[in-house]
């Protein structure tokens, strides 16, 4: 055989599968492979360790060992120790959470916050009972009532308005069946529904509330918007914005792809306009200009106006994120849905959106996080969110000169919320990943 090369080869036996080689060496082996392989990596590892140690050596004593929890002023802190003066957070904690919400009524926002988790549970986890979604749908009004108080009939009136709008959309098209093109009839009904709801909210809700209030007065003690502040305010604006911007963003993204020129123009115009202006200008519009356009005498809460603007702002971004997801789907998915005879709404709901939203999850959560942090901009128009509360605290003679502790505390609050959102989105992506196992 020597010297002669033949290409012919036949396997003599089937090689049975065997397990992969076991990693040896444990933690030390891992460290040797990943941290100390070669001179450059060893130096880099040591430098990084030195840097981390340096930072910890500064932060740990300041924050934990030498910090002061009980004192009545910065002076008092310094007399005890030279670490972080956490006494200020200890003293002002409740103000940070509730703003100037009346002390004896604080159980209401707490209850609303606890119920928030019940409401979002079915939306976040598919294992939750589906019936809870009804509660989720009613939750915004319940939370509104709990936090702002007032007559129960106000929120009920708002629900009635929605019911009127829904009834228009549901029952108007059959009335004109045969006389009008079906799509046109549906569009007209939607328009009529929105108009009826808006009219009801603007002109009839107050009368409805007064009338029913006169018959049966059920209510909570009202709390003015001006007394809301702190994390309560951030959470209200952030959560409403998040809950509102996703569905509106979906509708805008679909509208932007529509073949109907009018719908497409409205959606593109909205998205481009809102994305093209800074959030701060929108907040100013909410603060100063919006009341010009409303009928005189209409009471339109400032926080509600801000929520609307923040939601609109986030919706425009959301629409573009979701459009990216829609564009990322292969055309074949649209064609397969069409070829099975699914109509537009069914193919969107069952085939296109579930996949497009899944692709868009990182972008959606990105927008959520951005929105949540942007809520701090409301200090510009005088609302006392946590950052807004810093000013009076730092102006207080007792705490004059404190910076790190307060900003650090606020940062921690935002970090916890944003980190939770980020982790949830990773969980969701993992959970929905059935494609390529």
């Amino acid at each position: 055989m020597a010297g002669e090369k033949s290409v012919a080869f036949v396997a003599e036996r089937q090689i049975p599968p065997s397990p992969p080689p076991v990693k040896t060496g444990g933690a030390l082996g891992w460290a040797r492979d990943n941290l100390f392989s070669g001179v450059f990596n060893t130096v880099a590892t040591l430098l990084s360790l030195a840097f981390v140690a340096y930072i910890l050596a500064m932060v740990v004593p300041w924050l934990f060992l030498d910090s002061v929890w009980n004192a009545s002023s910065l002076q008092g802190c310094r007399e005890v120790d030279d670490g972080a003066c956490l006494a200020v957070i200890n003293e002002r904690f409740l103000q940070f959470v509730f703003g100037f919400y009346p002390e004896e009524l604080r159980w209401r926002p707490i209850l609303a916050f606890v119920l928030l988790f019940v409401a979002i549970w079915p939306a976040l986890f598919s294992s939750a009972p589906r019936k809870l979604l009804i509660f989720s749908a009613l939750y915004p009004l319940l939370a509104y009532w709990l936090i702002w108080g007032g007559s129960l009939w106000g929120p009920v009136g708002a629900v009635v308005g929605l019911a009127i709008g829904w009834a228009c959309i549901r029952f108007l098209p059959p009335l004109v069946r045969g006389r009008l093109d079906e799509g046109l009839a549906f569009l007209a009904a939607v328009g009529a529904g929105i108009l009826a709801t808006a009219l009801w909210w603007l002109f009839c809700v107050t009368a409805f509330e007064d009338a029913l209030g006169a018959v049966l007065a059920i209510g909570l003690e009202p709390v003015e918007s001006a007394r809301l502040g702190g994390f309560l305010l951030s959470t209200i604006i952030g959560v409403s914005g998040i809950a509102g911007s996703l569905p509106i963003g979906i509708v805008l993204a679909l509208g932007r792809q529509s073949n109907l020129i009018l719908i497409k123009a409205v959606c593109v115009g909205f998205i481009e306009f809102i994305r093209g202006v800074p959030l701060i200008t929108l907040l100013f519009v909410a603060w100063l200009l919006l009341s010009y356009f409303l009928p005189p005498g209409t009471e339109f809460d400032l926080i509600l106006r801000v929520v609307i603007m923040v939601t609109a702002f986030a919706s425009a971004y959301m629409a573009e994120v979701i459009r990216g997801g829609l564009a990322g789907l292969p055309r074949g998915q649209y064609e397969a849905a069409d070829s099975l005879g699914l109509d537009y709404w069914k193919s969107m709901r069952l085939i296109i959106l579930p996949q497009a939203l899944k692709i868009s999850i990182p972008g959606i959560v990105n927008t959520f996080i951005g929105l949540f942090k942007d809520t701090t901009l409301v200090i510009i128009i005088g609302l006392l969110d946590p950052v807004g509360l810093l000013q009076p605290i730092r102006a207080d003679q007792n705490w004059n000169g404190i910076v790190w502790e307060l900003y650090g505390f606020i940062a921690l609050f935002f970090f916890i919320f944003c980190f939770a959102m980020s982790r949830y989105s990773m969980y969701l992506e993992r959970n929905l990943d059935v494609g390529h196992r």
Binding site: E182, G183, E335, D338, S339, G341, L342, K346, I351, H436
Partner: protein, 263 residues
């Protein structure tokens, strides 16, 4: 050999002499922008007839069958499917689509749904069938395409051939009267082509009206009543299989056949 095959063609012709029209296309033209992609197409497909459409790429054969269920719109001429004329009326289009099944080159299964959900989705949401009934039928068709044991898997876990068979089952679950196949085996490994063709032969033997865009000439010989050759947007030649392969008339057809049969 050839005589026997020709005889078989004639038998096949006799079997479909029902004369009931499934699809009627008359004077149809289509443009993509300036490009005249389909030129004066006239084609009548009878119930139970099986037609294989072949031709070089870009000849418009896929576009032709995609016009039949309105995935592409045509500009002039008339297409009538099972008595319903294709117009811009959405209701008509949705009705035709639920009567016409389609299989794509790249399967286009819904990756976020399991195999059985892929099969039951349209019956439940379009035909408004009870879930139980739809699932029973889905299992029946999955068995028939020999993939019953994969019902709970997701498309991403299946091989190409298995995915295409699921796609066929998904279409059959709507109990269509006509099946369109758009190059169903072009994206498959050679080993998997046979398993898909077997299913299609089985379907052909059950009497389904089929329009197949394909280059599988063996399959065409075996089941087709008619072979249509297209080039540059028009129907150049059509004939029964043996006559088509053994005695092509047009120069273009001869050239095409010599190229695809030379290997």
């Amino acid at each position: 050999m050839t005589a026997a095959a020709t005889e078989r063609d004639e038998e096949r012709r006799a079997m479909t002499a029902s004369g009931e029209v499934a699809i009627d296309i008359a004077g149809m033209n289509k443009w993509f922008g300036e490009f005249h992609v389909l030129r004066d197409i006239n084609l009548t497909v009878y119930r139970g007839e099986r037609i294989v459409v072949c031709g070089p790429s870009g000849s418009g054969k896929s576009t032709l069958i995609r016009c039949i269920n309105a995935l592409e719109g045509h500009q002039t001429g008339r297409i009538t499917v099972e008595g319903t004329e294709l117009s811009s009326d959405i209701k008509n289009i949705d009705r035709i689509r639920s009567e016409v099944g389609m299989c794509f080159q790249h399967f286009n299964l819904f990756p976020h749904l399991s195999v059985i959900e892929n099969c039951t989705l349209a019956p439940i949401w379009v035909r408004r069938e009870p879930k139980k009934e739809a699932e029973d039928r889905a299992r029946y068709f999955l068995e028939r395409v020999k993939i019953g044991d994969q019902a709970l898997k997701y498309p991403g876990q299946l091989s190409g051939g298995q995915q295409q068979r699921v796609a066929i089952a998904r279409s059959l679950c709507m109990q269509p009267r006509i099946m369109l196949f758009d190059e169903p085996t072009s994206a498959l490994d050679p080993e998997m082509i046979k398993e898909v063709l077997d299913v299609m032969v089985d379907l052909a033997e059950s009497g389904m009206t089929m329009l197949v865009v394909s280059h599988e000439m063996g399959f065409a010989r075996q089941v087709a009543h008619r072979i249509i050759f297209m080039d540059e947007g028009q129907i150049v030649e059509q004939n029964e299989p043996e006559a088509f392969f053994n005695n092509p008339q047009s120069e273009r057809t001869k050239l095409f056949l010599s190229q695809i049969l030379s290997h």
